[in-house]
């Protein structure tokens, strides 16, 4: 099971260590540093590192390496999942998961880690239970605490841990009872030079914000549940009913949570909302090149494409870019070699275009690799797969809740090859 955890920042400083069993010297991290050095980019550090006596399993999130030490055969996914859970908990508690916030909340961090793992076994990882045990810091509470000297550790022990629905605490009370669902779909796609789809799929999630009193039992149904054949549910969802009736029946956790995620890979269902016409080439002589990019709408289902951003990873030899954008602003960072063109709203009448010349390092050979384009966009009020929520019913409680569903489509890993 998980033995120890080290948090290491991007500069290689180890700023927190926690041991759940006997203490393991932090020198074990030297193996990690070695691998870190070899990988050059922090993203490329291999997740599992073997050392003579231990295994280091690490994740890289928010510019922090979460390095865990294990000694026996443990499923690596189990460890990785847990580490992500730790990072999410920090985010949940402190608003962001960064070195500064962790250092500022050192005692809470320790208390959290202690509650999340017992002897290497996960103990309480549900945000609901943790928040009952250790209250998250808020500005108001910190002020009250400094004045009254009271603290953020819960006086009671969590009741949820004893029940069969550990994700929900008992005795929840709200004056306004509300349940909101966000259907968020991300399009992952690769388009080739000619604009043909090489690969496309939709990663969807339904995020919920449920603030309902008591023990509500909810049922969510879809107009077209047939779309969903590959789904992952929050533990609260009753899988049997999904299997038999294609409805999502559950007693929700209190507050924000991800109800389900799904994955649609059938090509014909994945609409590509924009097309990109691009022409980037470098001349054999003269250390220069040309760039010409136009973006236009393709299958937008009559909605407006917003927050459109095109990112180009230029070859190393590109020094600067002298371009002209008909819409939005562009910025080329010569250090990271990334060209960002922030277009904003896509106007179908007047297609945005970015055109101009690139100057290359003089004397350097013509770059071999082709730059790739990454597209970012957002379409409000549309789930690109066509998924629609039919209705939400509540049983078990008498009051009438406010209900709402929002749809949004975003670009995930959406790239265009040149």
């Amino acid at each position: 099971m998980i033995h120890s955890l080290f948090l290491i920042n991007n500069a290689g400083d180890l700023f927190l260590e926690k041991h759940w069993k006997s203490v393991i010297s932090r020198s074990v991290c030297d193996y990690f540093f070695e691998a870190r050095e070899k990988a050059v980019e922090p993203d490329n550090v291999p997740p599992v590192i073997r050392t003579p006596h231990h295994y280091l399993i690490n994740i890289y999130r928010e510019k922090i390496f979460f390095v865990s030490v294990i000694q026996t055969e443990v499923p690596p996914l189990f460890v990785i999942e847990f580490l992500h859970r730790v990072a999410e908990t920090f985010q949940d508690y402190f608003g962001e998961c960064s070195e500064t916030t962790i250092k500022d909340n050192m005692v809470i961090v320790y208390e959290l880690l202690e509650e999340m793992l017992d002897n290497g076994f996960p103990l309480a990882t549900e945000s609901n239970i943790l928040k009952e045990l250790i209250r998250p810091p808020t500005i108001l509470r910190t002020m009250v605490n400094t004045i009254t000297g009271s603290s953020n550790v819960g006086e009671t022990l969590p009741t949820g841990q004893l029940s069969t629905i550990p994700w929900r605490r008992a005795g929840v009370k709200y004056t306004n009872n509300e349940a909101y669902f966000d259907v968020v779909e991300e399009i992952d796609a690769i388009l080739d030079k000619s604009g043909t789809t090489v690969f496309a799929e939709i990663q969807g999630v339904i995020d919920a914000c449920v603030k309902l009193s008591g023990m509500p039992d909810l049922t969510l149904s879809f107009m077209n549940p047939r779309l969903l054949d590959d789904v992952s549910f929050h533990p609260c969802v009753r899988y049997k009913r999904w299997e038999s009736e294609r409805v999502i029946s559950f007693i929700p956790p209190d507050g924000n949570f991800q109800l389900m995620s799904y994955h649609i890979s059938a090509q014909n269902l994945v609409a590509i909302p924009v097309y990109v016409k691009q022409n980037i080439n470098f001349f054999e002589t003269g250390s220069s090149g040309r760039l010409d990019i136009t973006v236009g709408p393709k299958q937008t289902m009559g909605k407006t494409v917003e927050c459109l951003v095109v990112t180009v990873h230029m070859p190393k030899v590109v020094l600067s870019a002298n371009l002209n954008a008909t819409q939005g602003t562009y910025n080329y960072d010569p250090v990271t070699k990334i060209l960002v063109w922030d277009i904003g709203k896509l106007n179908p009448q007047k297609l945005p275009n970015l055109k101009g010349s690139l100057s290359l390092q003089s004397g350097a050979p013509k770059p071999e690799e082709n730059p790739s384009l990454n597209i970012d966009l957002k379409i409000q009020q549309l789930a690109i797969s066509g998924l629609k929520v039919n209705r939400l019913d509540m049983y078990g409680e008498k009051y009438k809740p406010f209900k709402g569903v929002k749809y949004v489509t975003k670009a995930g890993k959406f790239q265009v090859r040149t």
Binding site: F121, L162, H263
Partner: protein, 948 residues
């Protein structure tokens, strides 16, 4: 505003101040003080001096204060063991608190204090907590047992906590079950041989029920535990699969992968024609694909596992090629894994897409990745014949880019393509030669030189090209030097007139100026060959090369099976068996996939611990009926003492079934004549099948072979049950039945002598007539005691093959004479040829190919083996048990072709090709041998082994 306020007092008297505050009367002040202490502790300040003062605060009703003190204790108890004892009383008291949460907290903390003295006091409270009425306390206590075991294993065993823990598996609360399983799994790792997780259908049922209700982490523990279970039959296997499948939709990827493991393993038992089998296959694909949209670290582990799954069951993901397409911002470790899987999934149907992708990758930035992509194109060409042409042209395009490392990789793979498809793509050689100068890596240079040498006759200036390499001969790496030497010799043999000087030069460079023994030796060999017999040299050097295999990096089937059982673990990430990981004394259980229903069980039984040669025999001895036989056997075969101890009981089992009934069944028809075997129409070993009692015998034998398997016979050879060789009426009251076996390289004749006469028999002796393979007794027949009336004695007679040889008809006929105090009796019997298959009968691949070609086609014999329901791996495992070795396996359009070799004691090699069509129970066997008369008998052995 933050916790930093606890760190502000840095004055000199800090400890002193804290001490005063800790002893304050005011509760609030006390609490604040403890907090300051904890804050100092977390940043590494030494506050151990305050130990007694902090411990004094422990007896409080304030829960928060209690928790803080506990935190402190866990940290410092180790350094202050004597003081820590002071805390014991409070712990013990807290363990009796009316609030279950306090009881749990106390027992949880106590387990974290790694001080021997404290652990002694922990036992009683822990025992109570394990039986607590509240599930929360029981669940915490279960983990505490694992903690305690880590500190003092002996204590845990002595106190009987392990049994209590086992009982908790049947607890009514799912969380308790999950934690008990987790704790037991952890403890089991340090006790490889204990039956801690002894699963039976009842506990399995409990686990499956708990699976639905416990936390995600608990589900992982339970699934991993389930994966160790071996269902009794396919029906049980199916019902477990049905209950595990919903886990595939879990949001936690570790749960998903553990579920995949269970399904992959249990699927093995389901008959392939079952509808459910197909459904299950379909259900496995989506969750695996979903794993690939998770965070990159998760993707990596998932990809490593998918790599295994794709090798085992390519059909699951064959339509999902696209999800493995690489995105340019994937981390490099994900890219490389995806590429690997793409090649594995490449087939005629999708090759166009794959190639287009690979070409795209070859223009990426990352050098390692580009290289691998180029290599992948070559592998596609070799794997999918129809695509070879397109691959070659893609490679040529890439060579045109003139990017140095791309060109070099391309040349290396083109060499392999040439070898796979000779005389097809040589037209591209000219293009390759243009890039000669840019090659600076040894592997690429060597490949280029090989091409030039191999196709010297088509390259006009081959001599010039090779000469240019020769200039810097001594600066080249060994690989290039060796290749250059061979290439020039080839060139010389092809164009002797023009290149005499060149070959002289290279031979002298290699033999006289080089310090490398490999190079020198090869140089001398060529030199001598050329100088003594140029024709022979031509035959050797320009010999036809064996084809290269399609997939060079496939994981060996047995390892793959083991790894499939370890999906989701570190072993699966490293593609190495767990035994390569586990440190020190911890033994490892080798896991094997269960056998499919309907196949014979004998050699395939899974999960036999192989951790030590010491464990099996003691368990066997009590089960033997015949102590006398046992003793005799031990005497007879001392070198393999453990094996014979298994065999008497086996014989007894066979006797019970066959002994009595056989006489009446066959009556006198058998006759005592030498033609007895022929009269039965088959070798004696085929008897059980004819009698229809095969399942029972097979089962009994199977069980015993499991134990045998533990002591160094991974898959025991099949031994036919005994048959009556000479009935009592033909031999004056002596009935002899027997069979033959090969155990650990020793041939044995197992005899049962029964005295059915009225008088005692003594003075036994045995002799063989001359026979085809020179079988003869290696020692006298050891019947030490007189054989009294109605007594049966089992004797094992070791045989040697060094006796006089005479060809018999049939070939495997053996004429035997047995003497006793009454008379001499003659009978004949037939032995299965597998008796003579030696252990080192595994031929080298190359030798196999050459030999296969060498044996004239007239010698090839074809046979049909009917009604076998094994997959090719199981079949090859089984055959291996009888020393029929699988050398290579090819899969062509759903047809598995196994290439096998067998060596007989007299040095005759038998080569075989077995074709297995999925879903067709009839196998086609082609046997080639220089002595074609043995083929028929080899085929009989195949049939015998596969059917039993």
């Amino acid at each position: 505003m933050t916790d930093s306020k606890y760190f502000t007092t840095t004055k000199k008297g800090e400890i002193f101040e804290l001490k005063a505050e800790l002893n304050s009367d005011k509760k609030e002040k006390k609490k604040e003080a403890v907090k300051k202490v904890i804050a100092s502790m977390t940043v590494g300040k030494d506050v151990s001096a305050l130990f007694p003062d902090v411990v004094n605060c422990m007896q409080t009703d304030n829960l928060e204060l209690k928790k803080l003190v506990y935190l402190y204790l866990m940290n410092y108890a180790k350094s202050q063991p004597d003081m820590a004892i002071m805390a014991v009383n409070t712990f013990v008291k807290d363990c009796e608190d009316p609030n279950p949460l306090i009881r749990a907290l106390a027992v949880r903390t106590m387990g974290c204090i790694r001080v021997d003295k404290i652990t002694e006091y922990l036992c009683e409270p822990l025992r109570k907590c394990l039986k607590d009425e509240d599930p929360y306390v029981r669940k915490t206590a279960a983990v505490c047992v694992a903690k305690l075991h880590d500190i003092n294993a002996q204590l845990v065993e002595d106190q009987g906590f392990l049994d209590t823990l086992k009982d908790l598996i049947s607890d009514s609360n799912p969380m308790v079950v999950a934690n008990a399983v987790a704790a037991l799994s952890e403890i089991a790792e340090s006790h490889p041989n204990s039956n801690l997780l002894d699963l039976n259908p009842q506990t399995i049922n409990k686990l499956l029920t708990a699976l639905n209700e416990c936390t995600e982490w608990g589900q992982i523990f339970i699934l991993d535990c389930l994966a160790n279970y071996t269902p009794r039959d396919d029906r049980e296997s199916q019902s477990i699969c049905e209950r595990v499948t919903p886990r595939l939709s879990h949001a936690n990827s570790a749960v998903v992968l553990s579920a995949v493991k269970v399904l992959m393993k249990f699927m093995e038992m389901l008959p392939k024609d079952l509808d459910y089998y197909g459904t299950l296959l379909k259900k496995l694909a989506p969750p695996l694909v979903t794993l690939l949209s998770a965070e990159p670290e998760l993707q990596y582990v998932a990809l490593r596992n998918i790599n295994l799954i794709v090798q085992k069951r390519p059909e699951i993901l064959k339509h999902e090629m696209k999800v493995f397409f690489v995105k340019y911002n994937d981390p490099i470790y994900v890219k490389l894994e995806k590429l690997d899987i793409m090649i594995r999934l490449a087939s005629q149907a999708n090759i166009a897409q794959v190639l287009a992708e690979l070409k795209e990758y070859a223009t990426e930035v990352d050098v390692d990745f580009v290289r691998k992509a180029v290599r992948a194109i070559g592998r596609c060409a070799i794997k999918v014949e129809q695509s070879a042409e397109r691959c070659v042209s893609t490679l040529l395009d890439l060579i045109q880019t003139k990017v140095n490392y791309v060109v070099q990789e391309a040349i290396v793979v083109i060499k392999d393509i040439f070898r796979k498809y000779p005389n097809k793509y040589e037209s591209v050689i000219a293009t390759l030669c243009e890039n000669l100068d840019s090659l600076d890596e040894p592997e690429a240079r060597a490949a280029m030189i090989w091409i030039v040498g191999e196709y010297a006759e088509r390259i006009d200036n081959a001599d010039e090209l090779l000469e240019s390499f020769l200039e810097g001969f001594h600066d080249e790496s060994t690989q290039v030097q060796l290749q250059l030497l061979t290439a020039i010799v080839k060139l010389f043999l092809k164009k002797p007139t023009e290149t005499q000087e060149l070959v002289q030069q290279v031979l002298s460079l290699a033999t006289q100026d080089s310090d490398n023994p490999d190079l020198r030796d090869r140089g001398y060999i060529y030199w001598r060959l050329l100088s003594t017999d140029p024709v022979a040299a031509k035959e050797v050097v320009l010999a036809e090369k064996p084809l290269i295999s399609e997939e060079t990096d496939l994981i060996e089937p047995t390892l793959l099976e083991e790894l499939i059982c370890h999906i989701g673990t570190l072993a699966s990430v490293y593609h190495k068996p767990p035994s390569a990981f586990v440190e020190g004394s911890r033994g490892v259980q080798h896991k094997r996939l269960p056998a499919r229903a309907g196949s014979g069980e004998s050699a395939e039984s899974p999960d036999v611990g192989q951790s030590g040669p010491t464990e099996a025999p003691p368990a066997v001895i009590p089960s033997q009926g015949d102590l006398l036989g046992d003793l005799l056997n031990l005497d007879l075969a001392p070198p393999t003492a453990t094996v014979p101890s298994v065999q008497p009981s086996m014989q007894m089992g066979a006797m019970d079934l066959l002994g009595g009934g056989l006489d009446s069944l066959l009556g006198g028809d058998i006759g005592g004549s030498p033609s007895m075997g022929a009269g039965l129409g088959a070798a004696p070993a085929a008897m059980p099948a004819a009698l229809g009692s095969a399942p029972a015998v097979g089962g009994g034998l199977g069980d015993l072979f499991d134990l045998g398997g533990g002591v160094g016979m991974p898959t025991g050879a099949y031994v036919a049950p005994k048959t009556v060789w000479i009935p009592a009426m033909k031999a004056k009251g002596l009935e002899i039945s027997g069979t033959f076996a090969r155990r650990g390289g020793i041939i044995q004749m197992d005899l049962s002598l029964t005295n059915k006469a009225m008088s005692v028999m003594t003075d036994f002796a045995i002799q063989f007539n001359r026979n085809s393979f020179g079988l003869s007794p290696a020692g006298p027949l050891q019947v030490l005691t007189p054989l009294s009336p109605n007594q049966t004695i089992d004797v094992s007679l070791p045989l040697s093959t060094s006796g006089p040889v005479m060809k018999m008809e049939p070939l495997n006929n053996l004429q035997v004479a047995v003497k006793n105090n009454i008379d001499v009796f003659y009978f004949s019997c037939q032995y299965p040829l597998s008796l003579l298959f030696v252990e080192d009968g595994k031929m080298e691949r190359q030798v196999f190919l050459a030999t296969w070609k060498d044996i004239p086609n007239d010698n090839e014999a074809q046979f049909q083996i009917k009604d076998i329901h094994l997959n090719s791996d199981a079949a090859s495992n089984k055959l291996q048990g009888s020393n029929i070795f699988t050398i290579a396996k090819r899969t062509v359009e759903g047809q598995d072709m196994l290439y096998q070799s067998v060596k007989l004691t007299n040095g005759i090699w038998v080569l075989a090709e077995m074709r297995i069509q999925t879903g067709n129970p009839n196998y086609t066997l082609s046997i080639k041998c220089r002595a074609p008369e043995v083929s028929q008998f080899v085929f009989q052995c195949y049939e015998l082994v596969l059917k039993n």
